[in-house]
């Protein structure tokens, strides 16, 4: 075992072991000799002392031993595993990279699971376009890179065209739609402005989809996706499906549907008891056990790379990943701290799945974007995001803590009522990590 006084973590029991960095998501695989060299270096031995010990133990030439020690040392330094004195926890610093705008309460559908439904009653119908354009200008001035346009159904915002036109080309546009109002003009307009479009599909056929989203919505959404394809969006389209009781059996079929439509990515999202879903919970969530979701995740994960469409379940599994996304330059996968979520009434939250009074950070009618990004609530939530894995007891001793980073805060809030705990998928996620690393170790042992 690696001396754990520095917090290095080790997994495996065979010839090769996974060594995990104590404070970052970095990991590597080394054999027993490599582990022994790392152990000796961590205990303060010089490379020459380690090489001398190897020569004494194995009777090999010192030159061979020192060359091997330096090979290990160089890799450890390049991988930032050494020197141990340089080990630091990278912290999330607030940075205005993106906005997530709930542009309107207007929607032509009444979906059973909508987190933005019901709870918005009594608030204004739209975020005024003057306010939206001002926010986009400010985001650009602060160096922001992207804006997510959501609703309700964003196509129903009276000024949506001018908002889209104003966002680009400086800001990448992510457009979340139910797809049913898409026509050739809209599809061309979105394509011309480089938008990435996410269409919500909750069933592979009208019987499933329409039971959740309303009669006729399936055929219209499919036609909408076809028009987006005809407009040339192709790789810029993805489907989003929520895992709920009615659709659970049908989720694999959604992958088949996406392949037939030429859509490269399907995101499977966890059901959250918010908005309309609270009222409809008996219908959509009751009886949906953790085991049901896990069975589906098993399918999605073990499906591998068959087919042209990729399933993504890392949102539902809140941080189940073996490498951080490339754009994650501070080694924290969650976007909290780099985005602000603006509700239709101007209220600001750190995350679209944490739009509760406890996490309301202010209002765009009372504070500027810069002030909101550098506010005390933002600083507090960034600190929580950084430190949860070290504070939550079961995470502090878990080898996977720097990969999942205690999972999604919003899902923990949903399942446990606090962000200072993990979510209900923690045990399952640990099992998946073990399976994944067992597979990597098996490949190394074979090789």
């Amino acid at each position: 075992m690696i001396d754990n006084s520095m917090g290095y973590l080790e997994y495996g029991s065979g010839t090769n072991r996974v060594i995990l960095h104590p404070l970052s998501s970095w990991w590597l695989v080394m054999n027993q000799t490599g582990g022994a060299i790392l152990r000796a270096l961590l205990q303060g031995a010089t490379p020459e002392q380690v090489a001398s010990d190897i020569r004494g133990k194995y009777g090999i030439a010192f030159d061979t031993a020192i060359k091997d020690v330096f090979q290990v040392l160089d890799t450890l330094i390049a991988s930032k595993f050494l020197p141990s004195t340089a080990l630091t926890l990278q912290e999330r610093a607030p940075e205005p990279r993106s906005l997530f705008l709930h542009l309107t309460r207007r929607c032509n559908l009444s979906c059973l699971h909508c987190y933005a439904g019901d709870s918005s009653r009594g608030t204004p119908m739209d975020l005024p376009s003057g306010m939206v354009l001002g926010l986009l200008d400010k985001l650009k001035a602060l160096g922001g890179r992207a804006v997510t346009l959501s609703g309700g159904e964003p196509l129903l915002h009276p000024e949506i065209k001018s908002i889209i036109a104003h966002a680009g080309p400086e800001l990448e546009i992510r457009f979340l739609t139910n797809g049913t109002l898409m026509n050739r003009d809209w599809a061309d307009f979105l394509a011309d402005h480089g938008a990435k479009v996410q269409v919500s599909i909750d069933g592979s056929c009208p019987a499933v989809h329409d039971a959740i989203r309303g009669p006729g919505s399936f055929e219209k959404a499919i036609r909408g996706i076809e028009m987006l394809q005809e407009a040339g969006l192709s790789e810029r389209i993805n489907l989003a499906a929520t895992v709920m009781r009615q659709s659970l059996h049908d989720l694999p079929e959604i992958m088949g549907l996406a392949e037939r439509l030429g859509v490269p990515l399907v995101r499977f999202l966890p059901l959250r008891k918010r908005g309309t879903a609270v009222r409809c919970w008996e219908e959509i969530g009751a009886g949906l056990g953790r085991e049901d979701s896990e069975r589906f995740y098993d399918y999605a994960i073990h499906r591998g790379q068959d087919g042209a469409t990729r399933p993504e379940v890392s949102c539902g599994l809140s941080g189940f990943m073996l490498a951080m996304p490339e754009e994650t330059d501070d080694d924290i996968w969650c976007p909290v701290g780099r985005q602000l979520v603006v509700d239709v009434d101007g209220s600001v939250y750190p995350c679209a799945a944490m739009m509760t009074p406890d996490f309301r950070m202010g209002s765009v009618y009372e504070q500027g974007l810069e002030e909101l990004f550098h506010s005390v609530p933002m600083s507090d939530i960034c600190a929580a995001l950084t430190k949860r894995r070290l504070v939550i007891e079961r995470c502090a001793s878990c080898p996977w803590r720097n990969l999942c980073q205690s999972g999604c805060m919003a899902l923990a809030l949903e399942h446990k009522g606090t962000i200072w705990d993990t979510d209900d998928f923690c045990d399952y996620r640990q099992k998946l990590y073990e399976e994944a690393f067992d597979r990597i170790l098996a490949l190394e042992d074979e090789g």
Partner: protein
């Protein structure tokens, strides 16, 4: 005999009376995201930001 078996299990080879364990050079390997994708599959690699939430 048990002693010989134990030595074999530890990878110890004997030359005359002296026992010197076999030296296996260190192996250390890091993985890129692409290599993880290739070996483990797409669902296990990463998730694009921002968090893909849909209403």
């Amino acid at each position: 005999m048990n002693k010989d078996k134990a030595k074999q299990d530890k990878g110890i080879t004997e030359t005359g009376d002296s026992a010197v364990p076999e030296y296996i050079p260190p192996k250390i390997k890091t993985y890129t995201s692409d290599e993880i994708l290739e070996q483990i599959g797409p669902a296990m690699a990463c998730s694009p930001t921002p968090c893909p939430t849909a209403p």
